[in-house]
Symmetry: C2
Subunit: 160 residues, 2 copies
C-alpha cells in the first residue's frame, strides 16, 4: 500500500538538494564578484579583463572573431576594444592581406597589466580550491569542461 517515505518528500521547502545549474550559477556569481573587486583595483572590469586574457593567449584576432567568442554583438565588442585601445592596453593594426580587418594584440603595457591580474586571480583560484588535492582540482576542471561540451559550448568560429 501507499507507504509514506520516511525521509522527507524529496523536495518542496527542503534545501536538501540544490540543482546543479543553481550551484554553478551561484559559484559563478561569487567567483565573478571576487575577480571583480580584484581587477577593479587595476581599473578594469571583468569583461575587460576577460578580453585581455583571451588576447594574451590568442593574439591577432579580429573584432568580429572576439565578438563571436564572447557571444556579444560586433558593436559591443568594438566599443569595449575602443576603450582599451584608448588606454593603450591593446593596439589594432589593419591586416595587410585582408584590407578591412583590424588585428588586435596587447601592448607591452597591456601584457604587464594582465599578468598582474592573473596573479590575483590565481590567488582566488587557490582560495576556491582550498582543501582539494591537485587530482581533485583536475577532476573538477575536466567535469566542468565536459559539461560545457555537452551543452554545445563550442565557439561559433568562422574564417578570418
Amino acid at each position: 500500500m501507499g507507504r509514506t517515505p520516511r525521509t522527507a518528500p524529496t523536495t518542496t521547502t527542503s534545501r536538501a538538494d540544490p540543482s546543479l545549474p543553481y550551484v554553478v550559477a551561484r559559484l559563478d556569481r561569487v567567483l565573478r564578484r571576487a575577480i571583480e573587486t580584484a581587477v577593479n583595483e587595476f581599473g578594469l572590469s571583468v569583461t575587460q579583463y576577460t578580453l585581455l586574457s583571451v588576447l594574451a593567449s590568442q593574439p591577432d584576432l579580429s573584432s568580429a572573431q572576439l565578438a563571436r567568442r564572447a557571444y556579444v554583438s560586433p558593436q559591443s565588442m568594438n566599443e569595449t576594444l575602443l576603450n582599451l585601445e584608448k588606454e593603450e592596453l591593446l593596439k589594432r593594426t589593419p591586416d595587410p592581406n585582408h584590407g578591412r580587418i583590424l588585428r588586435t594584440r596587447l601592448t607591452p603595457k597591456g601584457r604587464r597589466l594582465v599578468e598582474r591580474c592573473d596573479k590575483k586571480v590565481a590567488q582566488i583560484e587557490a582560495a576556491m580550491t582550498a582543501g582539494m588535492t591537485k587530482e581533485r582540482q583536475d577532476l573538477l576542471r575536466s567535469m566542468v569542461m565536459q559539461a560545457v561540451r555537452n551543452l554545445g559550448g563550442g565557439f561559433p568560429e568562422r574564417n578570418p
Copy 2:
C-alpha cells in the same frame, strides 16, 4: 606511480590548461544561455525565473531580504517584484506584525509557471550531465558547493 594519462590534445584548440575560474565562467555562460532561451518561451527572463524559484522554496521573504540574497539594491529588486506582481505571478501582503514589511509569495499561477520552467531546466541539466553517473553528478555538485563555501558564499542575511 604517476601514470600520466596522455589523453592526447583533449582540446580542439591548442590551449594548454584553462584555469578553473575560466571554465566555470564559461559553463555559466553556456548554461545561462540555455536556460534563457528555455524560460523566454514562458515570457520570463533568467533573473525573473531565479527569483520565482527562490520564492518557491522560501516564501514570505521581504523585498529587502531578497535584494540581499541576490546582491542587488532594494530598488532594483523592488522593480523586478513590481513587474512580476503586475503579471499576477506573485503577491505581496503587509506583514501584520511588522507594519511596513511586505511578505512575498507566489500565486498559484506563479507556482504553476515555475514548475513548468523547472521541467525545462531539468532537461538542460540532464543534457549537461550526459555520460556521468549519478555518483559523479553528486561529486560535481559537492565540489562546486565546496568552492562556493571556500569563497565565502553565504548570504548577508539580517533580521526579518
